[in-house]
């Protein structure tokens, strides 16, 4: 009995030790991965808080000459901060148009059978298979001729070409999860279609709408080529401004880094609100 007892005890100890080792290994791998992910952001933050002289000088891991001047420049100079305003305006317009168009379309795909519905549904996605560069020239020519060039609407409309198909796919996935009987019960209760859609259906797929808005935001916010091609000065987005900072005095590294930091903020905020549903969104709502 005693022998068996000690045996057991030593097995338990060994097992515990092994568990600790595995935990340490896990932490190490996780830590390396986090460092790998965070390094560029850390470096960006680091640069944004340094002066230009320090940036081009010796390597320092923390700002020796701590300054917020770079941020002050951006937040006081209209040629900088209007970039953010422009970006936010066309991203918002784009999200609204995309959702307004995609909600009814996704509902139709999820609820009705019509001729060629499956082909049409797939064809929507093929729109995303072409790189934005393909469409830069036609859009530029078209918008110039109808007077839309250098407006927020121009960029917003151009981005819907990519966002509407994605939005339809994501929303359709979420809508498919809602039983059709809910629609019918609502009609039997006397709801008109529009009332049912806004009062009952939209609250049910609210996470889907949030995720869709996020994906529209993500594409539109980071897209550079179309937004730069279709704007001159009035509607120029922040990403375009950031590519044109080498002036007569050379590159203003610090301000550029600060602009980069500020560009990350809206995305981080939006991601925070839909964090629980993002995985489902990446699976186009089909989880």
């Amino acid at each position: 009995m005693t022998v068996a007892g000690t045996n057991n005890a030593s097995t338990v100890v060994r097992r515990r030790r092994r568990a600790v080792v595995i935990d340490k290994k896990k932490a190490l791998v996780m830590g390396l991965y986090l460092i790998f992910l965070m390094l560029p952001i850390y470096w960006l933050l680091n640069m944004s808080l340094k002066s230009n002289a320090e940036i081009v000088g010796d390597l320092t891991l923390l700002p020796q000459d701590f300054t917020l001047e770079n941020y002050t420049t951006i937040l006081t100079d209209p040629s900088w901060y209007m970039g953010y305003v422009n970006s936010i305006i066309y991203v918002t317009i784009n999200m609204m148009i995309s959702l307004a168009v995609a909600l009814p379309a996704a509902y139709a795909f999820s609820r009705y059978n019509f001729m060629g519905d499956k082909h049409l549904f797939f064809w929507l996605l093929t729109n995303r298979m072409a790189p934005p560069a393909v469409f830069a020239l036609p859009f530029f020519q078209l918008y110039s001729s109808v007077g839309l060039f250098d407006t927020h609407l121009a960029v917003a409309l151009a981005h819907t070409l990519f966002n509407v198909p994605l939005a339809v796919w994501i929303l359709e996935g979420f809508m498919r999860g809602v039983p059709k009987e809910i629609d019918e019960t609502a009609y039997l209760d006397g709801y008109s279609f529009s009332r049912f859609f806004t009062r009952i259906f939209m609250p049910l797929i609210a996470p889907g709408i949030g995720v869709t808005a996020f994906f529209c935001f993500m594409f539109s916010w980071v897209e550079l080529l179309l937004s730069r091609t279709l704007t001159g000065s009035d509607a120029r987005p922040i990403a375009a401004i950031m590519t044109r900072t080498s002036g007569a005095a050379g590159v203003d590294w610090g301000v550029l880094a600060a602009a980069g930091m500020l560009t990350i903020v809206p995305g981080a905020l939006v991601i925070y609100f839909v964090r629980n549903y993002i995985a489902k969104g990446f699976a186009l709502g089909r989880v």
């Binding site: 009987e181 809910i182 019918e184 019960t185 009609y187 039997l188 006397g190 008109s192 009332r195 009952i200």
Partner: protein, 362 residues
């Protein structure tokens, strides 16, 4: 208030879901649609509700043709097998929603909702969301919403099928009560003959998209018009036996005979199908002149106080229901008996020729 279906049929992509059907449902009646899965119960209900438009025929409500009318204008209520509520609203708002659309005053709505909630024992849960309730309570909520608007036609599509046994019994007792109070036409779809018998009213038996018989529930059960109805309206299904009548002798099986009794006397000689319910199978000859069958026992199921015996009679599967617990040897020959007065006689095409005398007497 009456609902009349005139030659209503439904064909989807070349497949006939509902064969042309004529049916009249009277005001204040409980009507059970009884049939196995895929027999067309739900399809027929959807046509009644106006959710689907019939391929042919007309639907007449109170003398008015409502074929193809918008469901919103039909004032019909429906409860599904799945528990369908509006998840984003509280139970109170769920029940109140049809009334809000009717533009009733807030005070009236409150009274009506509380009345319905009391009836369905939902009063303590009015502030909760439907998904925070148990399955039984969710279905009560759906029922309350269907009742509160005082629709003239209430369709219940297997409302208890997704509930566990205890809750199902509880709600089944309540449904006739709420039906009494509503005064509406109730249509209740179920796969279980027992449920139809417990609910009473009228029963329409359905088989492959057709109503095989419609009438008062007990009389459909006791006097089925044809073999299909008898098969549908019996659980376990009715057993069938091919018999040959020649004069006063009934031949069956491998050469056995029995004397012809009163209800078969008037039939011309020929081949018939004899049908009998499982509960009439006996292990000993209960009356003189009972038919004797040589069968093989394949399975026994003991449910506590009764024993189901699954038999093989010349290749035909039979089921018998015997009172009491019997431990019988499986795989061996078993003699079972049937009083000829318990046998329904159908023609070979399934039409009823002579009902069993016991059923007529009842």
């Amino acid at each position: 208030m009456t609902l009349v279906l005139e030659g209503v049929s439904k064909v989807v992509a070349g497949q006939t879901h509902i064969h042309p059907t004529d049916l009249t449902l009277q005001n204040g009646t409980m009507n059970v649609l009884l049939g196995p899965t895929l027999s067309g119960k739900t399809s027929l209900m959807r046509l009644m509700a106006g959710l689907d438009v019939p391929s042919s025929g007309r639907i007449i409500w109170n003398g008015k043709d409502v074929t193809g009318q918008r469901v919103q204008d039909r004032k019909v209520a429906m409860v599904y097998q799945q528990f369908i509520n509006y998840p984003s609203m509280t139970v109170f708002e769920n029940i109140a929603s049809p009334l809000r659309l009717m533009r009733m005053s807030a005070a009236e709505i409150k009274t009506a909702v509380h009345e319905a909630a009391d009836l369905m024992q939902l009063a303590p849960f009015l502030d909760r969301k439907p998904l925070e309730l148990s399955g039984g309570q969710q279905q009560r909520c759906a029922l309350a919403r269907a009742l509160v608007k005082k629709a003239g036609l209430v369709l219940l599509d297997e409302p208890l099928a997704n509930l566990d046994y205890k809750l199902r019994e509880e709600l089944r007792v309540e449904i006739p009560k709420i039906f009494e109070e509503s005064g509406a036409i109730f249509v209740y779809a179920t796969t279980e003959p027992e449920e139809a018998l417990l609910l009473g009213g009228n029963t329409a038996t359905m088989w492959q998209g057709q109503i095989t018989q419609f009438g008062l529930t007990p009389s459909v059960y006791r006097l089925p018009n044809n073999a299909t109805t008898a098969r549908v309206f019996s659980d376990p299904p009715m057993n069938f036996l091919r018999v040959t009548k020649a004069g006063s002798v009934l031949a069956f099986g491998d050469g056995q005979t029995a004397p012809v009794t009163s209800h078969m006397a008037a039939m011309p000689d020929g081949v018939y199908l004899a049908g009998f319910r499982p509960n009439h199978v006996a292990l000993s000859p209960n009356v003189p002149g009972a038919m004797e069958f040589n069968t093989t026992l394949s399975v026994t199921e003991i449910t506590g106080s009764e024993t189901f015996i699954h038999l093989d009679h010349n290749g035909e599967p039979w089921v018998g229901l015997i009172h009491g617990v019997h431990h019988l040897k499986i795989g061996q020959g078993l003699k079972v008996y049937l009083d000829t007065d318990h046998a329904y006689i159908f023609a070979e095409d399934g039409q009823m020729v002579a009902p069993a005398p016991y059923a007529k007497a009842a």
